[in-house]
C-alpha cells in the first residue's frame, strides 16, 4: 500500500463554441485538470484563429487499463 498509482484515463469533453457549435474532444490524461488543459490545447491546434470556447465540460472518463476503450461521438447526419 502507499501512494495512489498514477492511472491514465481516456477522457471525453464537450466544447461549446460560438453559434452553438459543439465539439467533442477525447484526450488521455492522468487527472481531470490535465484533461481540461489537453483538451484546450487540442482545440487550439485544431483551429487557425483561437476558438472562442463558451463552455468546456468533462463528461466521461474511462480507465486506460483495457485495450479498446473508446467513445462514440455523435456528429451530423448526411441523409
Amino acid at each position: 500500500m502507499g501512494e495512489e498509482k498514477a492511472e491514465s484515463y481516456l477522457y471525453k469533453l464537450e466544447a461549446v463554441l460560438e453559434k452553438g457549435r459543439l465539439l467533442t474532444v477525447v484526450v488521455i490524461a492522468q487527472t481531470d485538470e490535465r484533461a481540461f488543459s489537453s483538451a484546450e490545447n487540442n482545440l487550439l491546434r485544431h483551429t487557425i484563429a483561437p476558438p472562442h470556447i463558451k463552455e468546456l465540460s468533462l463528461v466521461e472518463k474511462k480507465p486506460l487499463g483495457r485495450q479498446g476503450v473508446g467513445y462514440v461521438v455523435e456528429t451530423s447526419t448526411f441523409a
Binding site: 500500500m1 481531470d32 481540461f36 463528461v59 472518463k61
Partner: protein
C-alpha cells in the same frame, strides 16, 4: 481448485481480453486465493490478473486506488434478519469505517476494507448465512425482489421460497460463473412492479392463467433490460411460468446468455444485445428448446408501479400485523444505526428487515398493539422517518467521487443536501423522484427518475466546477427513460434552478399528476423553454 470447465467458446480467437482471463482461471477461484494468500500476505501480493477476479468475491477497488476495497453483500430478495443485520453492522464497525450503504438493487455495500480483513469478513458473512460472492463480476448478481414478500397485501404469491431456490441454484454454481457480462435477476409477485422488472436482465412478474379449468397464479418473463450508457427496457416473452418452473426457466435463460451471449466486445455483451438481435419470438423458441414446452402467456397482474417506495405504517396480508416503511436518506447509515434497526425489528417486529431498491428499509410484522410505541421510538422520529419530506424521501444517489473510480463529480452528500434544500424551498405534497449519478454508468438508475441528474465537470474562470445535466420524465409506470434537456447546471445554481423548475410544474400540473406524466403532457420543448427562461441572465 475445482475442475475447470471446457467452454465451447474457448476456441474463439476473437474473444475480448477479459474472456481470456476468465478462461485461464474461473472468477470464483479468486476466493480461495484471497483466503489463503492475499489476506495473509497483503495488497502487494495480489496478482494483477486476479485483481479483476476480485469482483467474483464481491470486492472492488475503491477510489483512490490505495489498497482499499468496497464490498457488496447479497441480500436475496431484499430480506434479512436482525442477526444478519448485526453481523453486517459489526463488519462495518470493525473494518469499514462505520459505513453501510443500501444499494439500488437492495444489496448492502461496505467501503474502506483492506485485503487483510477479507477472509474474516467472508467467515462472518457465512456464519450468518450471507455472502458477498458473485455480488459483482460476470455472473448472476444479487437477486432483486419484493422486500414485502410473504406479508404484502399487493402480492399474489409469496416469492421468498422462489428467491431462496434461485439463490441456492446460482450462487457459486460454476456452470454459470462465467457469463459474458454481469447478469441481474428480479423476482416479484407484487402487482405494482416492486422489483423494477424492465431494467433487469431477467425478470419475473405476476400473472395468472386458466389451465384445465383452474386458475393458476404464476409469472410472466422479461428478458434483456439494463441501464448504463445504452439503456434498454426488457422485452416480455410470450410464456406463462408456474412458480415451480421459475428456477428451470431462469437456468434456461442464463444458459442462453452464457452460450449465445456476445463475448467479443465487453461493451456489447449484456443480455440486452442478444435480445435486441433475436427478438422475443426467437428467444422464446430457443428457450423452449432448452427447457421444454412452456405455456403461452396469460393475464398480466401488474398494474402500475410503486417506484419501490413503502413509507409509513401499513396493514399486512396477515390481519393485525403491520409493516413500517422507513426512509434512509440516499441509503447511507452507520453501524450503530443498523444495530438499532436490528433492535427495532426484534422488539417490534419478527426480526426481519427489508432493503428496498430505493435505498430505504422496512420493518416487518409489527403487531397492532406495538405500532404506537414504534412510532415514538427516537430513531423513527428523528432518523429513519416513516413520512420523510418529499425530496429527501425520494432522492436516490450513486456513490460518486467519494469512492468510485469512474465518477466525475461528488454525488451522495450533494444529493442529500440538495434534497434538504428543495424541501426547505418548495412545498410539494406528492413524490418527485430525483436520482443523481456521477457518470454515465448509471448505478443510481438515473434513467427511471422523474428528474435525473448526471454529473459533468465544467471549466470556468474559477477553475473546474461540478455541474449536472438534467433529464426529465423517466418512469416504469408506462416504461420510458427520461430525456435530456439542453442545460448543464453548475452546482452553485443547481438547487435554485430545480426549485424553479419544480415550482413551474407545481403550478401547471393537473390534480395528482406525477412529474413524468406532466412532462409527457406538456412536452419536452415546453420544459426546455422554461429552462431557457430560468437560465436567461437577468
Amino acid at each position: 481448485m475445482a475442475e475447470r470447465k471446457q467452454w465451447k467458446w474457448a476456441a474463439d480467437p476473437s474473444l475480448n481480453k477479459m474472456e481470456f482471463t476468465k478462461l485461464e482461471k474461473d472468477g470464483l477461484d479468486v476466493i480461495e486465493a484471497i483466503v489463503n494468500i492475499y489476506s495473509k500476505e497483503g495488497f502487494a501480493s495480489i496478482e494483477s490478473s486476479d485483481m479483476d477476479r476480485f469482483k467474483w468475491a464481491g470486492v472492488y477497488q475503491q477510489r483512490p486506488k490505495d489498497g482499499h476495497f468496497m464490498m457488496r453483500v447479497r441480500i436475496p430478495g431484499g430480506i434479512l434478519n436482525s442477526e444478519q443485520a448485526r453481523v453486517l453492522a459489526n463488519i462495518a464497525e470493525d473494518y469499514g469505517r462505520d459505513l453501510v450503504d443500501v444499494t439500488t438493487r437492495q444489496a448492502v455495500q461496505f467501503h474502506w476494507l483492506t485485503v487483510e480483513s477479507l477472509a474474516d469478513i467472508f467467515d462472518r458473512l457465512a456464519s450468518a448465512g450471507l455472502s458477498s460472492f458473485e455480488a459483482c463480476g460476470d455472473c448472476p448478481r444479487q437477486i432483486m425482489g419484493n422486500p414485502l414478500a410473504g406479508i404484502d397485501p399487493h402480492e399474489v404469491l409469496d416469492t421468498r421460497p422462489i428467491v431462496a431456490e434461485l439463490e441456492k441454484f446460482f450462487l457459486l454454481n460454476r456452470d454459470f460463473s462465467n457469463l459474458p457480462r454481469k447478469y441481474k435477476i428480479s423476482v416479484s409477485a407484487n402487482i405494482h412492479n416492486a422489483a423494477h422488472a424492465q431494467i433487469n436482465d431477467l425478470a419475473f412478474t405476476p400473472a395468472k392463467k386458466a389451465m384445465a379449468g383452474e386458475e393458476v397464479i404464476g409469472f410472466h418473463v422479461w428478458v434483456g433490460g439494463g441501464l448504463s450508457a445504452k439503456p434498454y427496457l426488457a422485452k416480455q416473452l410470450d410464456v406463462f411460468v408456474r412458480p415451480e418452473e421459475v428456477v428451470k426457466v431462469a437456468a434456461g435463460v442464463t444458459t442462453l446468455f452464457r452460450d449465445f451471449g456476445y463475448r467479443q466486445k465487453r461493451t456489447h455483451a449484456r443480455l440486452k444485445f442478444l435480445v435486441a438481435d433475436w427478438g422475443p419470438e426467437k428467444f422464446k423458441e430457443q428457450l423452449m428448446e432448452l427447457v421444454g414446452e412452456l405455456e403461452p402467456g396469460g393475464i398480466d397482474l401488474t398494474s402500475g408501479w410503486n417506484g419501490g417506495y413503502f413509507y409509513g405504517i401499513h396493514e399486512q396480508r396477515q390481519a393485525g400485523l403491520y409493516y413500517a416503511g422507513l426512509s434512509v436518506p440516499v441509503g447511507r447509515m452507520n453501524a450503530g444505526e443498523l444495530n438499532e434497526l436490528a433492535r427495532l425489528a426484534d422488539e417490534y417486529g419478527d426480526g426481519t428487515i427489508g432493503t428496498c431498491n430505493t435505498q430505504n428499509v422496512l420493518i416487518r410484522n409489527i403487531p397492532e398493539a406495538k405500532v404506537a410505541a414504534f412510532r415514538n421510538e427516537p430513531m423513527i422520529v428523528k432518523r429513519f422517518k416513516l413520512q420523510p419530506n418529499t425530496f429527501v424521501g425520494y432522492a436516490v444517489s450513486c456513490t460518486g467521487t467519494e469512492y468510485c473510480n469512474l465518477a466525475i463529480v461528488e454525488t451522495k452528500e450533494r444529493m442529500r443536501s440538495l434534497a434538504h434544500y428543495l424541501d426547505d424551498t418548495v412545498v410539494l405534497e406528492t413524490p418527485l423522484r430525483i436520482h443523481m449519478i456521477g457518470c454515465p454508468n448509471s448505478c443510481g438508475q438515473r434513467q427511471i427518475a422523474d428528474i435525473g441528474l448526471q454529473g459533468a465537470l465544467v471549466k470556468t474562470s474559477n477553475g473546474m466546477v461540478e455541474a449536472f445535466d438534467i433529464y426529465v420524465g423517466g418512469t416504469l409506470e408506462e416504461p420510458q427513460f427520461n430525456r435530456k434537456l439542453n442545460a448543464r447546471i453548475t452546482v452553485d445554481r443547481l438547487g435554485p434552478f430545480l426549485a424553479q423548475l419544480i415550482t413551474l410544474y407545481k403550478a401547471d400540473r393537473q390534480e395528482g399528476e406525477p412529474y413524468w406524466r406532466y412532462v409527457e403532457r406538456v412536452g419536452l420543448s415546453h420544459i426546455q423553454a422554461q429552462v431557457d427562461a430560468i437560465l436567461q441572465p437577468a
